[in-house]
């Protein structure tokens, strides 16, 4: 085999390869063809086996030709692959096409009940003012639910709370979260900033705005210098937190035996329907209550407030009837996302 014959073989291979490459119908066929030409045991390698018979001077020459041929074939394989894969991709796309506009399966819809969620919203707002949550007992005694809160036996102020009594003498279901004030003060001295949410009970006929089971959140702050002005500031923030930053508050005198002065708080916000809505009762903790909690009213003072969770939830969500909360109709609950 001489140099010219080898070179001719390579050139023939190149021309033949170009024809076969351009005839390849798929990338798989092309891959096979590519390795049959260029691979370890491919056609070029086969041809170059004859290189050993050449004179030493000619060997580099045939190497140059072989590299040219190899590069040319490689370039045509690459070019052909680009052409083939674009078509194959299109084909794959068409083959795999589905109607992806079906609605999809329904989501798993769960919900959190508006009562605990409203409590959580209040707790979150108050947490930014350093108030921590504490939960008390629902079965109370007359002493803590009333007497220590400056509501003596046989006092007409008792008419403000219609009470559900247990058969056990002296025991009752708490009518408000306020006994938590006493228990908190007795459990540890000032400074106190605490939120006391929970279920309360009253002997009350059920209608759209009353129930015998309902929820309240009590707040209590006791330190050396808390003032009525501070009470206004905190409760104004609470109202804005619950009803939006455009909410306005109105503070007016109220009456609760366990606060002096006592405050009633009304709120009005852009979405409110009926002007001023009363949302909570509050006041400076009565000195008798501080004393009953083991705190000297000459050195410490503070304020307390209580709000009805159902009422807040009704106002925030536009719910007209409080009975919906205990009805738990799934269609109602599914609205709370």
């Amino acid at each position: 085999m001489d140099l010219a014959a080898l070179e001719k073989q390579l050139r023939t291979l190149q021309a033949d390869a170009a024809t076969r490459i351009s005839a390849a119908a798929s990338t798989a066929e092309l891959d096979e063809l590519g390795s049959s030409l260029l691979g370890k045991r491919g056609a070029i390698t086969e041809i170059l086996r004859g290189i050993g018979a050449l004179p030493a001077d000619d060997r580099p020459k045939i190497g140059v030709v072989a590299n040219e041929v190899r590069a040319a074939i490689d370039a045509s394989v690459t070019a052909r692959r680009v052409a083939l894969s674009a078509g194959e991709l299109l084909e794959r796309i068409e083959r795999e096409r589905v109607d992806a506009t079906t609605p999809g399966p329904a989501p798993r819809i769960g919900s959190l009940h508006p009562i605990p969620e409203t409590i959580a919203a209040i707790a979150e707002i108050m947490a930014s003012f350093g108030f921590v949550v504490s939960e008390g007992q629902e079965i109370e005694d007359d002493v803590t639910n009333f007497q220590l809160l400056n509501i003596p036996e046989d006092h007409p102020s008792r008419d403000l709370w219609d009470t559900l009594y247990l058969q056990e003498p002296g025991r009752l279901l708490r009518t408000h979260t306020s006994p938590g004030q006493i228990r908190t003060m007795q459990a540890g001295g000032p400074p106190i900033r605490v939120i006391l949410p929970g279920r309360c009970f009253r002997y009350e006929a059920v209608d759209a705005s009353h129930g015998f089971e309902f929820h309240q959140v009590e707040g209590l702050l006791v330190d050396r210098g808390a003032t009525l002005a501070d009470l206004k500031g905190i409760l104004d923030e609470l109202a804005k937190g619950l009803f939006g930053s455009a909410a306005r508050t109105r503070f007016r005198p109220g009456y609760y035996p366990f606060t002096e002065p006592s405050v009633a708080v009304d709120v009005s916000w852009p979405g409110s329907k009926d002007g001023w809505m009363t949302i909570l009762g509050a006041g400076m903790v009565h000195p008798v209550v501080l004393e009953n909690g083991g705190i000297d009213p000459e050195t410490h003072q503070g304020f307390a407030f209580g709000l009805g969770v159902e009422r807040i939830a009704m106002l925030r969500h536009g719910i007209p009837d409080l009975r919906a909360f205990l009805e738990n109709d799934l269609r109602f609950l599914a609205g709370f996302r």
Partner: protein
């Protein structure tokens, strides 16, 4: 307390409209229930004048009238009343008017003669009780004026708080209004002309218990003609919300509203020689004015004569001495009774009256005399009576003026507002709390029982008016200062003082559990804690389910059901022990609403009593039924079943780092005896299963599944920070063990034994459960996959093999199970 504004104006000048006044009162702490125009329902009714009254040609009982109503045409109206005459001004209901009772006035023919309207009686207007004659108006009544503009009345309804008994009177409210407007307030007592006969002739007064009746005043009015009250009185009482009875009773009610002083009128002829105020005797009874015969208790204070009880003091009079049309002489009793005594009697007899309401809230001492005199004056005016000379009196009238001291600096510190000492005193004086310059203020009442000494010159003294017995301590005056200054003028600030120590929220874990379940598609519910006896019997958790530290942190269930003494209804007469009955009740409701699938949960409390000591515990309860999630064309719907419920329990348990195990079923009225299990673990415990087929809400399709668990931290919220070790580079290895379980054993037992025997396994999972040929009946083959994490050296094969060998003996001993084979690398 309803206040007709015309009455208020008798004591102070009011220029404000009813709405303006209502707003002003609200801002000064008097809660206004509503403002109404009494008479607003008199539409198409006007003041008319009778021009002619002539007999009806065909009917003796009817008269023909010609009525002028201003400039319009003269109306011909046929009328049946006899008390009319030409020249009188009368209320005319025009054609088209609707009467308060709903009747419509039409153009009508009455015995052949057209009638163009109706002349109205007081009763037809719902203004007085007189239905016999037409309501004759004053001759100055402006013709043609709508009746509501002439006779109508603005009425403000004020919700008086229990501490302000003084505001249960027109005069008391006038004082508050005067403080707002700055106009003077004055009460002009009606002068009383007494007759010659002395009050003491034939009548004596004896008070047995001065503590219960510290001041009693009697007057006697003779020559009384009992009849209806004047129309204007009847209308005023009606506007104030009271029914007119007779001139005598109305006189007592009128003074009760005007001064806040309840009094009682007895028929003199039905009372003996001595009026006694004493406690009831054992076995004594009294028929009260509502004609109920009441057995009296030895703590009931009564007004009596020498023979029998005549009235329940301060609460209600008796039938035997009731004023009637045959009464000609009355005894007026005007007394101060101890508030507690009146309240207890009213409560004991379930007899709340306008009088008892006022007595309970305390009475100004000077009102006993004033009230008796004013009622007597009205009886001379309205009933032609003659008051006997003098009064029968027991006890003292005079009460020393109360001086109260306060530190203006403390008021500033409490309110957070810079009001000078003088400004504070000036505000107080606007409601009659006047400065007492003579007194030296030293003792400060901090509470009713505790006083402190004020630094010299730092305190002021004020005189508290006799009607403000609610003002007892310094803080009471601070409230008055704030109220009169106006809460709206107090600045807002944010407290800057010490913050308490941080405490984690008790709801941390609870909120995580709630979110997890909501994300899993469950709806949170809040259900009644009060349930019926039948519901309470459905299930109460045995104390054996939740034990040890879990019981200590979450509360231990058990004990007796806690029953109410005064339930609203039998449906809610006791506290639940388990949440499941309340939850089931809601499943039932939702099934009725058409929810064929659903999933609900509640975190709530159970309640029980052990040896009289009540306890409360916290549990999570779950109820699921029907499809867990809806399907789609490519995926089928999945129904809730025991395994899906267990997956949920496992997810919740994972929050507290626990993998729950399951023990054998329990006896339960709520769960299917064959499809339930006890959930056991250190940090989670409870039970789950299918609803008992005997339950009234059970159905074959969909099945209802239930779970109730205690979780460590659900109540108090401890969330432990997990301790994490970095995993070694070696991959985990698994061993699959096939076990043959005899009929008598449960998978739960086998898994529990496997977990404790193969302690090196990081996870034990049941991947296969098989029954049937070739196994014997009842036998099952269980495939357990144990996952091990080899240490970095990887030289654990021997230890693993040793544990698996130990497993063989352990399951055989515990439940007769045998290992069929082990596979794995």
């Amino acid at each position: 307390m309803k206040i007709p504004l015309s009455w208020l104006r008798e004591f102070t000048d009011v220029q404000l409209t009813a709405e303006q006044l209502a707003d002003a009162l609200t801002l000064r702490g008097l809660e206004v229930r509503g403002v109404e125009r009494w008479g607003a329902n008199w539409n198409k009714m006007v003041v008319g004048e009778l021009l002619e009254v002539a007999p009806h040609p065909k009917a003796d009982r009817l008269q023909l009238t010609k009525v002028r109503i201003g400039d319009g045409p003269i109306l011909n109206i046929v009328c049946g009343a006899r008390n009319i005459a030409a020249g009188q001004r009368i209320p005319v209901a025009l054609v088209g008017a609707e009467m308060p009772d709903g009747r419509r006035i039409e153009r009508a023919e009455k015995m052949g003669i057209a009638s163009e309207g109706m002349l109205c009686s007081g009763q037809e207007l719902d203004a007085t009780d007189d239905g016999d004659g037409i309501l004759i108006l004053d001759s100055s009544a402006p013709l043609g004026t709508p009746l509501v503009d002439y006779l109508g009345e603005d009425v403000i309804d004020v919700d008086v708080k229990p501490n302000r008994g003084d505001l249960l009177s027109i005069l008391g409210l006038a004082r508050e209004v005067g403080a707002i407007t700055g106009a003077p307030v004055a009460y002009a007592a009606r002068p009383l002309k007494e007759g010659a006969d002395a009050v003491g002739a034939g009548l004596a007064l004896r008070v047995a218990d001065e503590a219960l009746a510290p001041h009693v005043v009697l007057r006697v009015v003779d020559g009384v003609k009992v009849a209806a009250s004047p129309d204007r009185v009847q209308m005023r009482l009606k506007a104030a919300g009271l029914r007119s009875i007779s001139n005598v009773v109305d006189a007592t009610n009128y003074i009760m509203l005007e001064l806040g002083k309840p009094t009682h009128a007895f028929d003199r002829a039905k009372v003996g020689e001595t009026v006694q105020i004493r406690l009831a005797k054992k076995g004594e009874s009294l028929e009260t004015l509502d004609h109920e015969v009441r057995s009296l208790d030895a703590t009931d204070l009564v007004v009596a004569d020498e023979r029998a009880a005549l009235a329940l003091a301060g609460v209600m009079g008796g039938a035997s001495s009731e004023v009637s049309t045959s009464t000609s002489s009355v005894i007026i009793e005007s007394a101060i009774f101890a508030p507690t005594s009146v309240r207890r009697s009213a409560q004991r007899h379930s007899l709340r009256s306008e009088a008892s309401h006022r007595f309970e809230r305390g009475q100004e001492r000077r009102l006993a005399t004033l009230g008796a005199d004013q009622v007597a004056a009205l009886l001379t005016e309205w009933a032609g009576g003659v008051a006997r000379a003098g009064r029968l009196v027991a006890g003292a009238e005079e009460v020393p003026v109360t001086t109260l001291n306060f530190r203006p600096s403390r008021v500033r510190a409490l309110l957070g507002v810079a009001l000078s000492d003088d400004e504070q005193v000036a505000l107080l004086s606007s409601i009659g709390i006047s400065a007492d310059p003579a007194a030296v203020a030293t003792k400060i009442a901090v509470t009713p029982k505790r006083s402190v000494s004020a630094e010299k010159g730092s305190a002021r003294a004020v005189r508290v008016p006799s009607w403000r017995s609610d003002l007892e301590i310094e803080a009471d005056l601070a409230e008055e200062v704030a109220r009169l200054y106006g809460y709206e003028r107090i600045p807002t600030s944010v407290p800057s003082a010490d913050l308490p120590q941080h405490r984690p929220s008790p709801t941390l874990l609870r909120d995580r559990v709630r979110r997890l379940l909501a994300d899993a598609g469950l709806h949170e519910v809040v259900t009644h804690a009060l349930v019926s006896a039948a519901q309470a019997e459905l299930w109460s958790e045995p104390a054996s389910i939740v034990t040890g530290p879990l019981a200590a942190s979450e509360g231990s269930a058990g004990g007796a059901s806690i029953v109410l003494q005064n339930p609203l209804s039998a449906d809610h007469d006791r506290l639940r022990q388990s949440l499941l009955p309340s939850l089931l009740d809601r499943v039932d409701a939702n099934l009725r609403y058409g929810a064929t699938s659903g999933a609900i949960f509640e975190v709530g409390r159970g309640y029980g009593s052990t040896k009289g000591a009540p306890s409360e515990w916290t549990r999570l309860a779950v109820a699921v039924w029907g499809d867990r999630e809806q399907g789609a064309p490519s995926v089928g719907a999945t129904a809730w079943n025991l395994d899906e419920l267990k997956r949920l329990v496992a997810q919740v348990a994972h929050l507290v780092g626990e993998r729950p195990a399951y023990g054998s079923s329990v006896e339960s009225a709520v769960l299917h005896p064959g499809i339930n299990a006890v959930i056991t673990g250190d940090r989670i415990a409870g039970l789950l299963g299918e609803l008992h087929p005997a339950s009234p809400i059970w159905r074959d399709e969909p099945r209802i599944l239930l779970a109730e668990v205690a979780i460590a931290g659900l109540r108090a919220g401890r969330v432990e920070t997990a301790q994490i070790s970095l995993p070694p580079a070696t991959p985990p290895v698994t061993r699959d063990v096939a076990l043959l379980i005899p009929a008598a054993a449960t998978v739960g037992q086998v898994v529990a034994v496997a977990r404790s025997a193969v302690s090196r396994a990081t996870n034990v999972e049941l991947f296969d459960l098989f029954a049937g040929t070739p196994l014997a009946p009842g036998e099952r083959s269980a495939g357990l996959r144990f996952t091990f994490q080899p240490s970095a050296t990887g030289a654990d094969d021997e230890a693993i093999a040793a544990e698996l060998t130990a497993l063989e003996g352990a399951v055989l001993r515990a439940c007769g199970a045998r290992i069929r084979g082990v596979e794995g690398q």
